[in-house]
Symmetry: D2
Subunit: 365 residues, 4 copies
């Protein structure tokens, strides 16, 4: 199912960028879980366009209205539906440009038109728009609050922007506090000096009518050992399926990831030991907290590669789909010169959903 | 479902390394498709242990017996079940060592025991064994033959072993012939000189009782444009869910992948044009043939990172699960010093399955 | 997934009787299908409370607002979400009664409270309310219009009310016109004389503060032969799974159904023959148009048993869930003395969805 | 998926009547559950052909071999695969008759050929054969043993054969012992006098080269209240989806079922009360232990209608599929004149699977 993910939890994302509303229906959320709406809105605000130069200047309020499955501040256990009205679209302008027939390079305009035989709503990217990550963030924020009550915290930061690297999470000793510290930042990096360089780079891309890509690193702490399943339903499979649902993602790695391919077994193996408190832990964590699809009890770590925003103001060669002619496109309007800052909570959201999903299968949840 | 993948096609992998048999049931394979058993066995033989120094010396015959869904050389459309008997296991030896209580670093021994509360079969890795990729390859070989009749070819090669890099597929002009040439090689690389260096490196790891990791690059050519779906059911999501079902995979990237995160939008965007024959194509293919989860018609390219084989002969620190004590483990027996050569057809198999799965949704299949 | 049905089409029903809204998200509806909104509202109006004595007098407008997946009168292929605001609920009154702790006999008040550990919304039956059939009817109406463009018509009528029987559809020769004739009736029966008796019986039940049950018979004509699958994914399985999603359904039979159990094989077997036009048909249709889960090309017939409305005004014995005491309950408010007339389009809706779902798997759809 | 059922448990049935083997793969069975193989074989023996006149005289040994997921008498939690070799088929004889082109009335020969475009194995009914209920019974027997350890017992009996009715289970007070008593009978009825009449009737049908249908009644006792879900994933939906996977089933009703449609609400509502032990129970059980898809804690009761065996020795009119001509068919070989006695454990199996499936979702399982 295209926009429905179904496992222990299922959720179904709907809507188009310039339609009346976007939203999500979550099925099989456990009943009786308190959801703090202020915290939820804070989570979603992290995805919203920033008020500074690093982001689009389109105003999106993205206020979710809960339509079902929620009563007296708690989940009811029945489907939880949230709705976000679209208020700020300028479809008229959009249709006046030739964006309905000129396909934008790097976008799904061409592939979407083929897939839906020309019937899909192309305004603002339609169902392919990055706006569809708002319902993902809603769902992820709900799951995150349920996990946090069990002590499980998921955090992410901008790990790279266009070759400029932030410091990394310590994959062995990162704490809840480390996560919370970054979550409060407007520009979520570990090392703010690096962050400044990144922001300058993003601003430079904007000034040259260009865009830049980057990497988000994510960590989940206090996930109990033994969560997940082998083969096709492991933590990596579920996280991957959800992460590749975020637009512009082109790569995903767990633990040492692609670097593991350059290592010797004697370097990469994380040796187990029983620590002072009698816990089974490992000294290194190149596995990223997952072996055989199942959590080891060490932090779960992953890195997600984002391509540069495809919407750039420079003239580009492309085709007119209707006439099948070669044309030049100039994309108007304000677009994020880099999606990575706003993608940070999206990555957290995907990981929250995958983790809660697997946690539900455990008797002592 | 742990070992069942269910989408347009479903398939269910079963078995343990030292049990009576392993196998797979495939449901919803289209009827009337000829399967050439010789070609299928050739595909599976590429996954079998090599007779040279790069691989384990355990003899595995891996002859699949088809139990259902196949008649007169053609699929019937009803569930296709294949069976591979386990014949060469030495469980007695295995149990005499302490491998049932000493957990091997980098393996799922520890996580599997927690997940299954100690009831899973640990002999030879049990259900977590790399042997379970044999039924995956069976399923992938069947799907591959069905795709090839539609002109779609999937090929892969060893792209890296422990920092030694092979040449890459040309992501714009790779042909069926390029794919077939590599498929026939015992050590599947593009550049045989690089291959020799890789083999020496693997042999060196073996001699030092160590192991090495690597990267497999995969390409699919002639996939029609418009295959796949947005959000959670795109080509990337399906391929990812299957690829992370192969043991030792720690990373996955499509097209430019992690490199895309280092690029400018003006570099990374693939400009469309209508070529001489009236086809819509792109000059570059940093997207790896996928935009918005849907095929562009250009080759689909991906790279998969494998960690070094965790079973190494060197003594390693670990724990005894029963007594929760710190111990030293020495893993006996012959293990591949590098899984990557045998993983090449496994990656192809996963991509074959994902592609056929999405092709089935199209009216003109 | 509780309220999500997922096969070739998936759809997810959400909402509570007294919440802000109810609705449905449909995923994988084919693109480019015209939906006539007037016809859709007519379909839904058949489920709405009647203005006469056979039905509740609560006003429900049930105007669906389409939020996504629909543009210029046609489906886009992306998720189709419809929304129905709840406007007429009197929750204050509801909570003042003791209906939150006294469980209504024959309702899901008790079982729902256990299932959701007391956190579900009980007002008006919450997610268990018959109101949730409105989104089912929306989805069914959409699917029905898509089927009708392929010549497939699904119709239903009140076959029995409290032992009073209507005539039956002719399972061999029923036509599109026969179906349309009944669809236009305010009280959908074949034989209006029988209908009058039924209405009197319903009115009598209301006057005695009681309720009555009944049977809906449904037929689908022009379904091509060969649609469906064996074992768990046949037409009967899918229809059954959806039909038992309608509140108050307690039985379902196809073709001769329970009567087939009283027959000899020589009576029950439908003999095939090739008719004048070269079509393969059967003289009788005790199979109800389905053999081995797959359509025969003859009309598909089924009968659905509904229990009497559990909400009756008479005092009944029950328990107080909070105090676990034996109590007497008197259910206030206006309830349908018989759900069967309003259930007729619900049964059609379920059959429409199941049929379109299976039709999608066919290349020549 | 045609022959795969996927919910909390998934299982995939494979094989053809005259192929090498039939079998089943069960995924997500909980680990550490003891399975008594003798009891399992006893369960399956109840489905095997009887040695008396009521059943076919084909010898089927149906000895399941467990290939995976089972170690030291306990489930491992990984996929449980069982295999049943086909040994007694006479395919040569079969193909010599014209059964490959003459379609048998009442069978899936015609519909299967269309569905699989003529590529399915038609020998002995192929994948549509009643033999495929052997793997269903295997799966059901496994689930039943797991349920019985939690005190939940499922039993069934022949409720009707061709209008001759057995007594019914008491839907309020049936005990484990009542169930076990019937389970031991060669001809499972409550009232053996009625059983004798049924047997005579079956024998009479055989002598007249005819067949008879019947009804199986099933009961599940000690199912805790609160199991199941609303709308599409209730107990009724799941049971229905599985029950309609048994060949020859044409109807299904829960509790009072079709009789409920003839009742007043005041008759049909089961009043709740708190009994001496403080348990919430109902005096009657017309609901069949299910309200809103969720168990009430009272016995779950259902009745399943089976059509008469379509394979009868009398000459019947039919068509030749290849030549599309009208022909007469005479079905040779020995067929059950009534499938109902052998269907009794199949119904239990389906209910066992559905119940265990829903039980798994509960924390205190």
């Amino acid at each position: 199912m295209a926009s429905t993910w179904s496992n222990n939890i299922s959720f179904s994302v709907f809507g188009e960028s310039h339609g009346p509303a976007i939203g999500v229906v979550m099925d099989n959320v456990p009943p009786g879980e308190s959801i703090d709406m202020d915290k939820l809105l804070q989570f979603m605000a992290r995805r919203a366009p920033k008020k500074d130069a690093t982001s689009t200047q389109r105003r999106e309020k993205d206020l979710p209205q809960i339509m079902s499955g929620f009563l007296n501040g708690k989940t009811t256990g029945t489907p939880l539906c949230a709705f976000i009205q679209n208020t700020d679209q300028h479809s008229q302008d959009y249709m006046k440009s030739k964006l309905d027939t000129l396909v934008r390079p790097g976008h799904a305009d061409y592939t979407g038109a083929l897939r839906y035989r020309g019937f899909n709503d192309v305004r603002g990217g339609g169902h392919f728009s990055g706006r569809l990550t708002a319902p993902l963030c809603f769902a992820g924020a709900v799951c995150g609050q349920i996990l946090e009550k069990r002590g499980i915290y998921v955090g992410a930061h901008i790990a790279e922007i266009h070759k400029i690297k932030d410091d990394s999470f310590d994959s062995v000793v990162t704490s809840r506090e480390d996560i919370m510290r970054i979550r409060e930042k407007a520009f979520p990096v570990i090392n703010d000096e690096k962050g400044k360089r990144m922001k300058r780079d993003i601003e430079k891309a904007r000034m040259s009518m260009d865009s830049v890509g980057g990497v988000v690193e994510c960590i989940a702490v206090n996930v109990p050992a033994g969560i997940g399943s082998p083969i096709f339903d492991g933590l990596e499979n579920s996280i991957a399926q959800l992460i590749f649902g975020i637009p512009a993602v082109k790569g995903l790695e767990f633990g040492a990831g692609f670097n593991a391919s350059k290592m010797l077994g004697s370097e990469n193996n994380d040796e187990f030991y029983v620590d002072d408190k009698g816990h089974v832990v490992t000294r290194s964590n190149f596995a990223g907290g997952i072996l055989g699809g199942i959590s080891t009890g060490m932090p779960i770590t992953l890195r997600v590669a984002f391509k540069p925003t495809p919407s750039i103001a420079q003239p580009q060669q492309t085709i007119d789909m209707k006439n099948r002619t070669n044309e030049t496109i100039e994309i108007k309007g304000r677009h994020d010169p880099c999606v990575v800052p706003r993608a940070v909570p999206c990555v957290e959201a995907a990981v929250n959903i995958a983790l809660l999903n697997h946690m539900l299968q455990y008797p002592n949840f």
